[in-house]
């Protein structure tokens, strides 16, 4: 099973202040552990929301809202994608991460094809196929 581990933003990450060398080293070591155990599929840190935008879909035309965004605790500062056998295993791994100072990290399970079950209807499939055909056409020079 795959899990996305979402690291929430804080004042420092939003201010663009990079973590201390100490924390970076510890995090590097933790990432190495994850990779060595064959657990980590991907992991990235994100720029502060001041460099981000939001696109809002309401009514007619989508509107673009520039960052920064205020609700710091709801913002994401980075993420991992892990492959483990259970949520419990993901929790046990996360407990080993070198966070501190009130950091809150969220674990969410990633949907797999099986999870969609019968809801993945032939119509949805057809729609996906059209999309694919369009993408393929557009990609051609």
């Amino acid at each position: 099973m795959r899990f996305m581990v979402l690291v929430k933003a804080n004042k420092d990450s939003e201010a663009g202040i990079l973590p201390s060398t100490e924390l970076l080293t510890a995090m590097g070591k933790f990432n190495q552990e994850l990779a060595k155990a064959g657990v980590m599929l991907a992991g990235e840190g994100l720029h502060p929301s001041s460099k981000g935008v939001r696109v809002r879909f309401s009514g007619g035309k989508p509107t673009v809202i520039d960052g920064p965004f205020t609700e710091t605790k709801e913002l994401i500062a980075g993420f991992w994608l892990w492959e483990v056998k259970s949520m419990k295993e993901a929790i046990e791994w996360l407990k080993r991460a070198p966070f501190g100072g009130g950091a809150e990290v969220e674990i969410r399970q990633v949907f797999e094809a099986d999870d969609f079950g019968p809801q993945f209807t032939p119509e949805l499939r057809a729609q996906e196929e059209r999309l694919r055909a369009q993408t393929a056409k557009r990609a051609k020079p």
Binding site: A35, K36, A37, G38, A42, S86, E92, T135
Partner: protein, 427 residues
């Protein structure tokens, strides 16, 4: 936390720690079987104590320390028994041994050499292939005997016995706990890679039973492969195998339709291919290309798989390159199966008639007798040449040869389509 909650957490901890634990213990006690017993003892102790005390901060170190104390107890007990019969000198020797046990070094194995030694010992040539697979899944994958039995559709006692025998064989043969060197390394590494790929393939194309594939086995093999790239980062074939597995696994979702029927490569919805795994596979392939001048068999197969991954539509597939890669593969790992795949690629690159000529040449190959993919490929090419009667006979023959229920149905559907004088089965 409730007790059952804690038990699940302990299971998770054990899955994370068990391979390292067993590897470290094997270095101390020089016996895989005993090491696993000690690790299990530590697990039982955790199950008894953690629901009360809570999970320790460093659960891995706790398990290791507990297991090591059991080991010392065991030695002391043996020593007391031996004291009755033997000279004090003997006891001195054992005391020396205990003193030499380096607890901290056993826990802290930053390079992962113990894990690597454990991989080599689990895949040792004194063991049968079946035993290597079972032992690897048990000791390195942390799978239970029940899980292994379920994955391979074999009764639990069969697997249990296989593991017991394998451990006994290793003890009796006094197989050293070491990383092989020089020319030995290549042969021993080939065995490790073979075992991992066997596990992957058993998951990818289940040879028997109702399910067309068992993704958990693929995931386990991939995990072992990824671990191995960390342990032997300079071995090109390790990266080659991982590249191959990542790319093949990228298609798992697209390989079955909602009713569980298999979908062949060229008919798969490529939007459902896992782009993350493809990227990882291509990166691993790039690593193996950087490391070696001439690609090994796994890397070549990965390069072939990559040709499909890079093509947005089946029509964009670079079949000529695939033919060239199969040529290279046939050079270093000649096999009729490779020839068959090459023939199929030739058909795609240069037309079905050219492919059929090559496939026909293989029909007299004794090692392909009973190999259902030969008549299946032949049927496919005959269909493309609109020779439906002959094609039907081939699909029916192929259907009678496979043990996989789903695959048999697919072949029978194609035979029925040929009977109607059409290439496409009814859906």
């Amino acid at each position: 936390m409730t007790t059952s909650d804690t038990h699940r957490a302990i299971d998770a901890v054990y899955r994370i720690e068990s391979a390292k634990l067993i590897a470290g213990l094997t270095r101390i006690v020089r016996d895989v079987g005993l090491a696993e017993d000690l690790a299990q003892d530590a697990l039982v102790a955790a199950l008894e104590q953690w629901p009360e005390s809570g999970i320790p901060d460093k659960p891995g170190a706790w398990l290791m320390a507990t297991a090591k104390h059991r080991a010392i107890d065991l030695w002391r007990r043996n020593t007391r028994l031996e004291r009755k019969h033997e000279e004090l000198g003997r006891e001195f020797e054992i005391q020396q041994k205990i003193a030499a046990i380096d607890l901290d070094a056993a826990i802290d194995d930053p390079v992962g050499d113990d894990l690597l030694r454990l991989m080599f010992i689990c895949c040792h040539p004194v063991l049968s292939t079946d035993a290597r697979v079972a032992l690897t899944l048990r000791l390195l994958g942390g799978l239970t005997t029940e899980e292994i039995a379920r994955a391979f559709l074999v009764p639990v006692p069969t697997i249990a016995q296989r593991i017991v025998r394998a451990k006994r064989t290793l003890t009796e043969a006094r197989v050293p706990f070491e990383i092989p060197h020089g020319s030995d390394l290549a042969a021993r590494l080939a065995s490790v890679l073979e075992v991992i790929y066997l596990v992957f393939n058993e998951g990818y194309a289940a040879t028997a039973g109702d399910a067309w594939m068992r993704p958990e086995l693929c995931e386990e093999a991939l995990r072992l492969g990824r671990i191995l790239t960390g342990l032997l980062p300079k071995e090109p074939e390790v990266w080659g195998l991982v590249a191959l597995m990542e790319i093949q696994a990228s298609r798992l979702r697209a390989r079955i339709d909602p009713s569980g029927e298999p979908i062949l490569l060229l008919e798969q919805d490529r939007a459902r291919w896992d782009q993350l795994l493809i990227r990882r596979g291509l990166a691993a392939l790039a690593r193996t290309e950087e490391l070696s001048g001439a690609l090994g068999p796994y890397a070549l197969q990965a390069a072939i798989a990559a040709c499909h991954s890079r093509a947005r539509t089946p029509a964009e597939t670079d079949w000529a390159r695939i033919v060239a890669l199969y040529d290279a593969l046939a050079q270093i790992a000649p096999s009729p199966v490779v020839d068959l795949n090459r023939a199929v690629a030739v058909a795609m690159a240069f037309g079905p008639a050219a492919g059929l000529e090559l496939v026909d040449a293989l029909t007299s190959e004794p090692s392909l007798e009973g190999y259902h993919l030969l008549p299946s490929a032949r049927g496919d090419l005959l269909t493309k040449l609109a020779r439906f009667d002959e094609a039907r006979a081939e699909f029916e023959r192929a259907a009678s040869m496979t043990r996989n229920t789903r695959e048999r149905q697919l072949l029978l559907d194609r035979a029925a389509a040929c009977a109607r004088g059409s290439a496409a089965p009814l859906r």
